[in-house]
């Protein structure tokens, strides 16, 4: 294929890739325990996001505003080619080490000094919270950088679309402020107090340990004071009030593609892979079983955990609650599904595997979105030409065209409201909007334009 690009764009992209590569090489050297000066850490913190931003800027430099999907299905990265496999294997390996072999990444055992990659981040951790890094601190840092750098790349790509612009600004801020800085700083200020989750938007059931006895105890411990009490009440209100209300008014998108960290990474770092989602009816069926299965699973586990809490027991019907309930969920769903498969497989299965098939929070909000919400994607009368751009680029594998070509509003539990179907539609057929519930679900629509059929009696 003839893809002569202007020189300035190629140079810019090379500089961007080069900067990112420098950061990755330094991280790799650190992982192999090379003793690096702390200036190397600053170098990584600057070149990693900067490289992504320069690459993103150069990719769209000098091009007219508009949809930029040329070659998506012919490039190796976005069409499951060699580079996709390399990234997939790399990410998966990273997640496996992170969850189960942190000592390989340099986590000092039982309070021993960190080394390797994690030790490399100690100075940053000391600067923010006054204590050494952990594997989760390193993960959170890299995660936030990915959302920031690739989020800005996404903004360059969609700079003509104000919905895309604002929601990306929102996920970047939510990640940096709510998920990263506030919790880490609060952690630093409360070193002596027991741990509890401090990400203000990390609601149950996505936060599966919210109701576990240790977590409840830590929040309500006397030394946790009002901060602990506040997080406890906010967690309850978030789960029981904020989530249903907002989902009623605007659909689950307020969470999934405006503030959520998993969604944030999917929309930014995962943007190149959204077209890989499986659109078949079979996968829709699988989705419904899996995601509601996970929701049921966490509700059962939580029920048992709360029973143990109130009954003051470690057993439920003779089974040890930790071994038979908490641990398997944390292992299978919390780590393997959401991390290893959810992110590691981005380049192979698409960017929203976890959000579509696994996330219990998405399942919970999906029930509202499907049955009790003002959100819908309106189909614009008879304008659809069945081209299929919308379905191809729906990261949730929704066959949007199926609705659009029959003039039916898209009301689906799984829609995360990313708005990409609307952006890529060449005929202006789709609009995400909130409106009256009456008439929202139009199962047997009559397509506008055909008076012979419309006037039938």
């Amino acid at each position: 294929m003839n893809t002569a690009e202007p020189k300035y764009r190629i140079t810019g992209k090379s500089i961007g890739l080069g900067l990112t590569a420098i950061a990755l090489v330094v991280l790799l050297l650190a992982a192999f325990n090379l003793d690096l000066p702390s200036i190397a850490l600053i170098l990584v913190l600057v070149t990693l996001p900067l490289g992504m931003i320069v690459f993103g800027y150069s990719s769209y430099l000098g091009l007219p505003i508009g949809i930029k999907n040329d070659g998506v299905w012919t490039r190796s990265l976005s069409n499951r080619g060699l580079s996709a496999w390399i990234i997939g294997v790399g990410l998966t390996t990273f997640y496996v080490l992170l969850y189960w072999f942190p000592e390989i990444l340099g986590q000092g055992a039982d309070g021993a000094k960190n080394y390797g990659l994690i030790g490399f981040f100690d100075p940053l951790s000391y600067a923010i919270k006054g204590s050494p890094a952990s594997q989760w601190f390193v993960y959170g840092t890299l995660y936030s950088i990915a959302i920031l750098g690739l989020g800005i790349k996404f903004i360059f790509k969609y700079r003509h679309n104000r919905y895309q612009f604002w929601r990306t600004v929102s996920v970047i801020i939510a990640q940096l402020v709510l998920a990263y800085f506030i919790p880490e700083i609060l952690e630093g200020m409360n070193q002596d107090k027991p741990y509890f989750a401090k990400d203000l938007k990390y609601f149950f059931p996505l936060n599966y340990y919210f109701f576990e006895d240790w977590h409840l105890n830590n929040m309500m411990a006397s030394e946790s004071g009002t901060l602990g009490m506040f997080y406890f009440l906010w967690g309850l209100v978030g789960f029981l009030v904020v989530t249903p209300f907002l989902t009623y008014f605007v659909g689950k998108r307020w969470y999934c593609s405006w503030v959520c960290g998993c969604g944030g990474l999917a929309e930014t770092a995962g943007d190149s892979f959204r077209q890989l989602s499986d659109k078949s009816l079979r996968s829709w069926k699988l989705e419904r079983w899996l995601i509601h299965g996970v929701l049921a699973y966490i509700l059962i586990v939580t029920g048992v955990v709360l029973y143990g809490y109130f009954a003051n027991s470690y057993n439920f019907m003779g089974l040890d609650i930790y071994t038979y309930f908490r641990k398997p969920y944390a292992f299978v769903i919390g780590a393997a599904f959401s991390g290893v498969i959810g992110v590691g497989f981005y380049p192979l299965l698409g960017n929203r595997v976890w959000c579509r098939f696994g996330c219990p929070m998405a399942a919970y909000m999906g029930i509202f979105q499907r049955f009790k919400s003002r959100f819908r994607i309106t189909t614009n009368g008879g304008q659809c030409i069945s081209c299929g751009n919308c379905s191809t680029y729906c990261e949730q594998g929704i066959d949007v065209r199926w609705y659009a070509q029959r003039g039916q509003n898209v009301i689906r539990a799984s829609c995360v409201g990313c708005g990409i179907c609307s952006a890529v539609c060449p005929r202006g057929v789709l609009k995400l909007e909130n409106g009256p519930e009456e008439g929202r679900i139009n199962e047997n629509p009559i397509i506008i334009g055909n008076d012979g059929i419309r006037l039938k009696n």
Binding site: M1, N2, T3, A4, P64, I65, G66, I67, N69, D70, G71, V72, W73, T74, H160, R162, Y163, F165, W166, S280, L281, T378, N380, G381, G382, Q383, I385, S386, C387, G388, N389, S391, T392, R401, W402, Q405, G419, S422, A423, V424, P426, R427, G428, K431, L432, E433, G435, P436, E438, G439, I447, I448, G449, N450, D451, G452, I453, R454, L455, K456
Partner: protein, 446 residues
């Protein structure tokens, strides 16, 4: 039980089959088509070439859909139709009998009789096979000429540009899309094409296509005598009903297959739908031949009712259509022509630096809304359709533009500016109203 045979698995034929099945669970339905086994959207051909989609994404229904709905797909070419004995003779030697026949055979690229139009390296764009040929014809080339400034022409230009092929775009008229849009919009589109590095030549008609020693096209000569060398030529001067295999039969045809308002041909058991149709008398307010996606779909919906025992006339409502010129979206509703007819006024607005424009046409005597062309913004079909049906006044439309606005959330519009300008130009004093869901959804209450 009747056996319904449909020739053509394009949008018109497939819509017929689906709607017949919905209304009659027992009917025997066969679709014969020789382009692809499974229905695909030819409107998406460009996206396959540009790498936005794979061919499989162009199929609106999963392959299992047809068996599930007991619609038999016969992947074969019809050589001949024997209307007297109600049978089709296929290229593979087989014969199919029908009780009722639906002809949804579509169209084919128009030719003109130019010297060189059949050379290798010259092609149109209509079918899946054309797309494969385009892959061959563009392999390794650096320059192309596209002749004919219609909607398919500009799509072909965009396709070629996506692979960085230099394109010269020959347009016969003095400006692009003459006849559909005014010069104000056309200028914007031509500037936009220039931004995409397309070499647009207006007032340029093709004279002949030249060839090299191997007999392959290597350039064009225009009527102005200009010689433009190139490595492939795209001919997109429109389409014409694909009916040559029906010539010399008792079927009455002119440019297309002639039908009455029930889409019935001169044979009582034979119907025609979609691109290949020519109405004996044009439906109210419409043309005799309309070759667009949704008219094919609507004819399919209509004929399915007739076939299942509820004879129904084809009554298309208000005209609408849409297109996209590189990055600029276009929608049109009602009737707007390039030259303002006697007795009509228009309100025209164009953004000073963005690719956006708005043209609203209305009756000069009673202010009745007649049509709308918009570029770079999306309008709500349902609302505009109602305004046209209910003979809303232009004043009313301008006042309620927010009801008809369909751009994504958080976008900005320039409606306040429109209204101010409209008030000045026509000496009015109307005020922009905010969006009202109850007005938008009025239809549901009826």
């Amino acid at each position: 039980m009747d056996k319904i045979v449909i020739i053509g698995n394009g949008v018109s034929g497939v819509t017929t089959a689906r709607h017949v099945r919905k209304r009659d669970p027992n009917a025997e339905i066969v679709i014969v088509g020789s382009e692809t086994k499974y229905f695909f959207a030819r409107t998406a051909l460009m996206y396959v070439f540009m790498g936005h989609m794979k061919f499989e994404h162009t199929k609106p229904y999963e392959d299992s859909f047809w068996e599930k709905n007991r619609i038999e797909l016969c992947f074969a070419h019809v050589n001949e139709v024997d209307f007297e004995n109600k049978s089709l003779h296929l290229e593979n030697g087989k014969t199919i009998h029908y009780d009722k026949l639906v002809l949804g055979v579509g169209s084919k690229p128009r030719k003109f009789g130019w010297k060189g139009e059949d050379l290798p390296g010259v092609q149109g764009l209509y079918s899946c096979q054309d797309l494969m040929q385009l892959e061959e014809n563009t392999a390794g080339i650096k320059s192309a000429v596209v002749v004919g400034g219609g909607l398919i022409g500009v799509e072909l230009v965009e396709m070629l540009r996506s692979r960085n092929i230099e394109v010269t775009f020959l347009i016969r008229e003095p400006y692009f899309m003459a006849g559909l849009v005014g010069s104000g919009e056309s200028e914007m589109l031509m500037d936009h094409m220039e931004e995409h590095e397309v070499n647009v030549k207006v007032n340029s008609s093709l004279q002949e296509i030249t060839s090299d020693n191997n007999g392959r096209a290597n350039g064009v000569i225009t009527e102005n005598g200009e010689h433009i060398p190139c490595q492939m030529v795209g001919l997109t001067i429109g389409v014409t009903p694909n009916i040559s295999f029906l010539e010399n039969t008792s079927l009455e045809m002119n440019q297309g297959i002639l039908v009455d308002p029930f889409l019935q041909t001169n044979h009582s058991d034979v119907f025609a739908i979609g691109d290949c149709v020519e109405f004996r008398t044009a439906p109210p307010g419409r043309r005799k031949i309309e070759q667009v996606w949704y008219t094919g779909r609507m004819m399919g919906e209509t004929v399915a009712e007739t076939l299942t025992g509820t004879p129904r006339k084809y009554l298309p409502g208000q005209w609408f259509n849409s297109a996209k010129f590189f990055d600029i979206e276009y929608q049109t509703y009602g009737s707007v022509s390039d030259q303002l007819p006697e007795g009509q006024h228009e309100f025209f607005w164009k953004h000073s630096n963005e690719n956006k424009s708005f043209r609203l046409v209305f009756d000069s005597s009673d202010n009745r809304f007649i049509g709308l062309n918009v570029f770079g913004m999306r309008m709500r079909h349902e609302v505009i359709d109602r305004w046209l049906n209910e003979n809303a006044s232009a004043d009313y439309c301008m006042e309620h533009l927010n009801d008809a606005w369909f751009d994504p959330e958080l976008y900005r519009n320039d409606f306040q500016e429109f209204v101010t300008k409209y008030n000045q130009e026509f000496n009015k004093d109307i005020h922009l109203k905010s969006k009202s869901w109850s007005r938008i959804l009025e239809r549901i209450k009826v």
